[in-house]
Amino acid sequence: MTTALEVSDVDVVFASGIGGRLRNMALRNITMAVGGERSSITAVVGQSGSGKSTLIRLLLGVQAATRGSVSYAGRPLHLMSRKEQMMFRREVQAIFQDPFDVFNPFYRIDHALLAPLRNFGLVASRDEAYAEIEQTLKVVGLEPGQTLGRYPHQLSGGQRQRVMIARALLLDPAIILADEPVSMVDASLRSTILDILYDLYRVKGISLVYVTHDLATAYQVAETIVVLNGGQVMEVGDAEAVIHDPKHPYTQALIAAVPSPDPDIPWNLEADPAEKLHEVDATIEQVLFRVDPLRAIAGPPDRDGEKTTIAKIQQAVSDAQDVAK
């Protein structure tokens, strides 16, 4: 049982142009949950501009909802007391695409790890802090002796990203939100970092949201996959089903864009993966319809069928896993 972070029927609209007349719906009709009765690991996949980072910022409480609300442990984020906010900021951690932006280049790595421990008053002494830090660095596969005392530019991109994961872990979080954590990391190191994230979920029971443009890495770790396009959910479901039997043309296009690791499986470079997408218009309102117990796809609101939400599908996938065990 972990604390639930819940998004209830949210739109996020960015207004621009003269008098704010141009409205860009970065997210539309989003209802989802992170954590809850059981820990969850959900991947959110979509092209650049599909609203993935907006969703992460919404979950982090740094992006306000234009409609609907976000709550943690049953409390709407915008109504939390200072004390509740403190708890939220410690228990919900984020990891971003380029860890270089997070580090101050003039401070040693140690600084980025000590600061959060101190800010939240989690350690009584420097020795205690270093003991915690060294142990946590080992969890993410880093050798403390070869990491501490160094400057950010002296570490590789993969090492910096591991330090970021360690930094999040030091605060003993319930939830980690990861926004394209491996997009700027060498392909050969991606799977190692995804392994670390997956183990946090499986061993420590931390709930994860993994945001990526790459369905192949989403499939490596997620139990539920959410496919986002133009701020709306095109398809959501059990990872196996979404990958091996995608129902929505947008999901099919994303899958067609991933090169197979087997050179003998034809990829057909000349076939444009976006070709099938002329029928997908993300500017028209869509809602989710359940097409099988563990899956839903987008359709126009006036269509017949069982309307559902990401949260309900996440719940169904989670329940099905309990049964399987």
């Binding site: 092209q47 650049s48 590789s156 991109g157 060498d186 392909a187 050969s188 190191l189 991606r190 799977s191 190692t192 995804l194 392994d195 997956y198 443009h213 790459d214 369905l215 192949a216 890495t217 499939y219 490596q220 770790v221 997620a222 139990e223 990872a239 990958i243 091996h244 296009a253 994303l254 899958i255 067609a256 864009a257 991933v258 090169p259 197979s260 690791p261 087997d262 050179p263 003998d264 990829w267 470079l269 000349e270 444009d272 993966p273 976006a274």
Partner: protein, 267 residues
């Protein structure tokens, strides 16, 4: 058999660093046949960019310590500066790493392309140049309106196509492309790679593609060279490298590829 387009023999490149000379490329040799696609893979810092920057004479605080480079039979390292300038774009061109951000933010796309023609002293009759630029954009799947745009008005994929268009403006025999798709999402990545493939075929040019994603390489190039800590540790056809990798690092590159048949869950 025709002569190779590019031949590199025993290339060594050294950088000047505060800690003393740093040997970034060690004894690298390979060649590209006419019309061939060759992929250079390796983790970041392995010397891929340095290798092609050396070919382009674009090294910063670095120099070619030794080695031979021949482009269409001509000694590239010995070519005088003026001759070398003529050869850039015309015989060999580069789509640099992070090319999208290397576009000049204050110049319209038309002016950036026109610069290439001007540099090579190409004179056009009235209206001919604009027509040539329109054709060039059409080759990379961009509408002519893009000519009037500034870089910030274009998406990442469109900017990368503009960079490819610029690289083929003078119909080179060799295109060097340094991670042209690594900043793009998978869908746009495939479209841009298809564009590169198409212009390469139309021109009959050779391509040297740099990247770190073995899967992507496998579906684009004919042969792969694997770089590790400055050295070329393995080279062969895609099929041979995948079926029988010799170097431990190559094996790791292949084994770590994500697959729709393998997952951590249920592992």
């Amino acid at each position: 058999m025709t002569a190779p387009v590019l031949e590199i023999e025993g290339l060594n490149v050294v950088y000047d660093t505060p800690g003393g000379p740093f040997h970034a490329v060690r004894d690298v040799s390979f060649s590209l046949a006419s019309g061939e696609r060759f992929g250079l893979v390796g983790e970041s810092g392995s010397g891929k960019s340095t290798t092609i920057l050396a070919l382009m004479r674009m090294l910063r605080s670095g120099w070619v310590e030794s080695g031979k480079v021949r482009l269409n039979g001509r000694d590239l390292l010995a070519a005088p500066a003026s001759a070398f300038r003529q050869l850039r774009f015309a015989e060999m061109s580069l789509v640099p790493q992070g090319a999208m951000s290397s576009l000049n933010p204050v110049l319209r796309i038309a002016d950036q392309i026109a610069d290439i023609y001007d540099d090579h002293g190409i004179r056009w009759r009235r209206g001919e140049q604009i027509e040539a630029m329109r054709n060039l954009l059409a080759r990379v799947g961009l509408p002519p309106t893009v000519l009037g745009f500034y870089p910030h008005q274009l998406s990442g994929g469109m900017k990368q196509r503009v960079c490819i268009a610029m690289s083929i403006a003078l119909r080179p025999t060799l295109i060097l492309a340094d991670e042209p798709t690594s900043a793009l999402d998978v869908m746009v990545q495939k479209q841009v790679l298809a564009t590169l493939g198409r212009v390469q075929r139309d021109l009959g040019a050779s391509v040297l593609l740099i990247g770190h994603d073995m899967a992507l390489m496998a579906h684009f190039v004919d042969r792969i060279g694997v770089m590790y800590q400055g050295s070329l540790v393995e080279m062969g056809s895609v099929r041979k490298i995948f079926a029988d990798p010799q170097h431990a690092y190559t094996r790791m590159l292949i084994d770590s590829l994500p697959s729709f048949n393998r997952t951590r869950r249920r592992a």
